[in-house]
Amino acid sequence: MAERNLVEAINLALARAMTEDPRVVILGEDVGRDGGVFRVTDGLLERFGSERVLDTPLAEAAIAGVSVGLAAQGFRPVAEIQFMGFAYSTIDQLLNHASRLRTRTRGRLSCPMVLRTPCGGGIHAPEHHSESGEACFTNIPGLRVVVPSSPKRAYGLLLAAIRDPDPVVFLEPTRIYRALREEVADSGEAMPLDSTFTLREGRDVTLVGWGAVTLDLLSAAERLAVDGVEAEVLDVATLVPLDAARILASVEKTGRCVICHEAPLSAGFGAEIAARLAGPGLYSLLAPVERVAGYDTVMPLPRLERSYLPSVERILAGARRALSHA
């Protein structure tokens, strides 16, 4: 079995989906001959031809809107937006149309599209290329929001997203595009689009995150283990619909929770998890819920991004605050 990084795993899933289903088409800027700016669609034009891998004009709203029209006509478009900073102009299409087409037509038309876009910082990219805007999408009813954190999960979750009958936003953390490799079988097996994954079991504190920070959570758990603290690490993976039951069950066991994301703290998706914990999870809590997140400022230019992003040290500090409560 071949070891693959996240980029290769996504490419593998795209090729698999296109092979299985002639309705799947890819469209976006530079996705064809160039294979995408991160090379995610590398080789797909050669393999599937220019009617299935479409280089669009430079127009993000049109990429999303054309996908709505294609999907309503029975295609399964997989649209790529080059960077998160350029994905915001698709929100009108996602919010006003893609997410509600099924409801708006009482099921007569639907919108089985996937909108892929890189997300997150840590690769010294220019301005507007390092945002973590997931919360802009999670508040749109009718939209699934998925963030893979490993090549295997990227493969299985993307297949599920493409096969899903409704629109899915698929956010790919650039920091781990090539940071890790693991064996990914081209099994064609999708993973559930409503599950939080337990990456490490523990009984003392729950560390919750998604995307690239899950690797930091795992590192923090290693460090805590040295001190005899057993941390449980959860990868939310699908933010909407949220598998709150898994998180609540973990916190019922540990009594303490650190939520981590790169996006700004206030009104970030961590706030939703904290609210769930403050509701049905309240009597499980032995300590206040800790949130370790980006700051409520503009994402800085690359020289400061390491100060901005949640680090293993900040996660450890959060965990220790949670553990300090008797």
């Binding site: 004009p57 127009a59 049109a62 054309v66 709505v68 294609l70 999907a71 309503a72 006509q73 099921g107």
Partner: protein
Amino acid sequence: MPKRSIAQFAVDYTQYLAPDGSALGPLPSFAEDAANLVPLYRGMVLTRAFDAKAIALQRTGRLGTFASSLGQEAVGIGAASAMLRDDVLVPSFRDQAAQLWRGVSALELLLYWGGDERGSDFAGPREDFPIAVPVASHAPHAAGAALAFKLRRERRAVLCILGDGATSKGDFYEALNLAGAWHLPLVILINNNQWAISVPRAAQSAAETLAQKAIAAGVPGEQLDGNDVLAVRERVAAALARAREGGGASLVEAVTYRLDDHTTADDARRYRDDAEVSRHWENDPVARLRAHLVARGVWSRAEEEHVLAETARGGEGSRSLSRDSAPAGRGHVRLPLRKAAPGNAGRARGGGRGRKVPWLSAISWRRSIWPSPAR
């Protein structure tokens, strides 16, 4: 010679009938037999009656905010009558004329504007899109549906209708540009009714015509008299035919006038003179076609009275929209309207408790006087 002209453009304008209904020259072939024009006239009259009824229902608290198409009936009827059944309509919120012609029932439209979820679908043209309210955001959907036709090698075209204000938005240009670059079977029809709520056409764009926005996208663009249903039908038909035959996208600007408020929530007297509106009443598209039909001997007072009586009967029935109209509960919301045959929806029964659907036992309009959907 340091400078030279490297490209020249022109924008054509089409008009067949003068405001008094007389022919300005040879008529398009479909108009040679005047009987062919009668269904267009009936469609325009019915649209006007529908709008009047909807406004009356809104004024009496039985409908929510509603956008009338008064004065623009020729745009929707002319364009929809130029479509084939397999073409797809991607309408905006003022396109009831085109929707009615395509086979969406008056009942379904009134359900929607009445705030009833059941109005979100229609039994008619199953691939037509729902109306788009956000303005111009539907233009890319039309391009996407056109791309689907092209990829499947189907000889079908998409008609997207939007307003003059919509041409100021990026979505309009993004869709038109992409459709041009990809030679998509798409026609975008601008219902230029001169007013985007309170902003007049002159303040919307410095462009001399809106049709010329096609030039930047590299597609044919033309203007026509939107109060001349013959011009609308003939030019839209030509653009759709070109699209179906692989000739790519085009832009058609129909110049008309919004005789009514933007919606029932608007009061146009705040920003435009009654005198201007009165002037435009002299250019009424319905009166123009009626005069033409009368002059050609295919329309008489008796026929006019017959049509008016039919619409009045439809209107009377719709009074049952009224008092017994209960808010739609769960059972109501789930009522599958599509089980009712098109044109028969007024007979649908609502709720699980044998309650009558409040919405119009009424609108048998479509059944009685509506011309058969696009041929």
